[in-house]
Amino acid sequence: MDFKLTEEQELIRANMREFCQKYVDPIAVEIDENSRYPAEIIAKLAEMDWMGMPYPQEYGGAGLDYLTYTMVIEELSRSCAATGFTLSCHIGLASGPIYNFGTEEQKQKYLTPLCKGEHIGAFALTEPGAGTDVGAGSTTAVLDGNEYILNGTKTFTSNGPVADTFVVFAVTDKTQRANKAMSAFIVSKDAPGFKVGEHFYKMGIRASQTSEIILKDCRIPKENLLGKEGQGFKIAMQTLDNGRIGVAAQAVGIAQAALDESIKYSKERIQFGKPISKNQALQWMMADMATDISAAQFLTYNAAYLKDQGAPYTKEAAMAKVFAAEMASRHASKAVQIHGGYGYIKGFKVERLMRDAKITEIYEGTSEAQRMVIAGNILR
């Protein structure tokens, strides 16, 4: 077993750090405050080839392994979790299913501009009445000649307001059981009957754009069916397996930032004539943080490593996600505690980290859903 990063991985991580220092850190506070989409960062990410990093060069990607991709998301999230998520949603949730299930034509037409960052991708699965219970979705797709007609409403669609290409899930055969009823479609934002709803203002990852998607007799070409009819559930689950590694990486990045800030602050803050870092109570908090971050990092890298090896990784991805998310939430809260009153003030990074951490326990499968997956794997 080899726990050492390759020279290339170290360098790529350092490049992303340099990128963050130059382009992300200076505006991270402002985009959070204004819930603003950082178009300028995304344009730079595209210019510097980060938008399709784990996909082959023939589609405009960079051909990185998933493990390195995971490290990049972690590093970006350390500066701005919202930007980290925008990218992992684009790469993992939107481009992922097109790469894994798309035809060559679909890849050429849709994956290539996504990888080059000319288009932004989104993933529309969740519905007002179908969250964790994916199979309860009521959006429908009906074949009409050479077109599918889609009807329904999707909610909490990350990147919705800014995306060009959507992977949309809809029921094609109500008579089937939930896991065979759904199909996946590639929908362009220009499709007739396609409408982006209002942007949601969120508690955290505020610079990530989220909205409803309204499909009203939305017509798309028949060849935009992704995979086969009835494969939707499988595509969704596999995509979420990938996505969970990205969320776990995001959580590790947030927790690392919480530790970075805590160390810095506790060494400078003087109370009772000495830096508060000299207090054992705080030392232990930070020791626990560092330990949990390492543990979460190993779980996350392990899941990514298994995926790279072509081995099953559903259970490991769920473990990484639930552990990393809960640990990030817990320790971001501790970091606020270490900062005392200042941590509760807008503009201090730990305040943002605490809000950003919470979402990692919720999206791409709640912590409870992850435990269902893990239990299902160990008890069957």
Partner: protein
């Protein structure tokens, strides 16, 4: 003649080197030699100020840079084998010293801030490294032992003895170099030379906009001092001239009083104020590192504190 040699591109800096050079020469029982650039009269002055010998370098043509002197200095040193060569660490001086050291295959301590003769009769030199985090003490195994000395590290000789006599030697002629000076753009004298200021008010990133510099300017004026700044204020924001920033790569200052406004206290800056007699700082962040290296710190909003200080000081002055 062996001994201690000093070279500075201007008269004032040369007097500073003569001060320390004289003391090193006396300690080791050798002679002190100064270079004078192109002027015999100045050479005579250097003797009055303590030199035993002066080398007069020939005047330079208009288009010849100061570096033209390098081969002549190297040649003189080869012939006479000095023990020590000190050079003023002006921008040109640093380049010239490095080239002379290369020509003589010897060591050079750059921007040396303290000099002493150790028990082996060797020159012990100190300089800061790692961005100001550490101090390195060096000796030199080869001859001559060379160092560049930042301007104002030592006080200039003030005692003039016009009865002193010494040897004046003319060097030259020297050959021209392929480097030609096409133009000289002296910088606009927007501010005084902050390295000579008795009082400095220094602004950092805590000052929010360019217009607010007036606040700091008023305080400086009331105190009879000058305005200085940190590197970002000069280099990134261009609010103040280049020559007014203090720090590792900028000016090193030694005022009687330094007051930092909205300065966090990064080591790259504070290494330039090490020699200030009294350091004061005003910062609203009570944990700003600058307070750790301040004699007196005010924890407060500079926008409230500074106008009050200016007003109060002006009132005291009238009395």
């Amino acid at each position: 003649m062996a001994g201690v040699w000093v070279f500075a591109e201007n008269y004032d800096y040369c007097l500073e080197l003569l001060q320390i050079g004289r003391s090193l020469a006396d300690k080791t029982g050798v002679q002190l030699t100064a270079f004078a650039c192109g002027d015999k009269g100045i050479g005579q002055q250097y003797i009055y100020y303590g030199a035993d010998q002066v080398f007069i370098l020939p005047p330079l043509a208009e288009d010849q840079p100061l570096g033209t002197y390098v081969p002549a200095i190297v040649e003189a040193a080869r012939q006479e084998d000095p023990d020590i060569i000190l050079c003023a660490a002006t921008l040109r001086g640093k380049e010239i010293a490095a080239r002379v050291a290369a020509g003589l295959n010897t060591g050079l301590c750059s921007e040396c801030i303290a000099l002493a003769i150790n028990s082996d009769n060797k020159l012990e030199m100190k300089r800061v490294i790692y961005g100001g985090a550490a101090m390195q003490t060096l000796t030199c195994k080869t001859r001559p032992q060379m160092a560049t000395i930042p301007p104002h590290t030592f006080t200039p000789v003030t005692e003039l003895d016009d009865t002193r006599s010494g040897i004046i030697k003319e060097i030259g002629p020297i050959s021209s170099t392929p480097v030609k000076v096409l133009a000289k753009k002296p910088r606009a004298k927007e501010s005084g030379d902050i390295t000579r200021s008795r009082v400095l008010v220094c602004v950092g990133r805590g000052v929010e906009k360019e217009g607010d510099l007036k606040l700091a300017g008023d305080l400086a004026e009331t105190l009879g001092g000058d305005l200085a700044c940190t590197r970002p204020i000069a280099e990134e924001l261009h609010w103040m001239p280049q020559e007014t920033y203090i720090g590792l790569s900028g000016q090193k200052v030694k005022p009687e009083l330094y007051i930092g406004l909205g300065i966090s206290g990064q080591i790259q800056h504070t290494t330039g104020i090490r020699d200030a007699r009294v350091i004061c700082s005003i910062n609203k962040d009570e944990d700003a590192p600058i307070f750790k290296i301040s004699d007196y710190g005010i924890v407060g909003d500079l926008y409230e504190v500074v106008p009050f200080l200016s007003q109060e000081l002006a009132r005291l002055k009238k009395k």
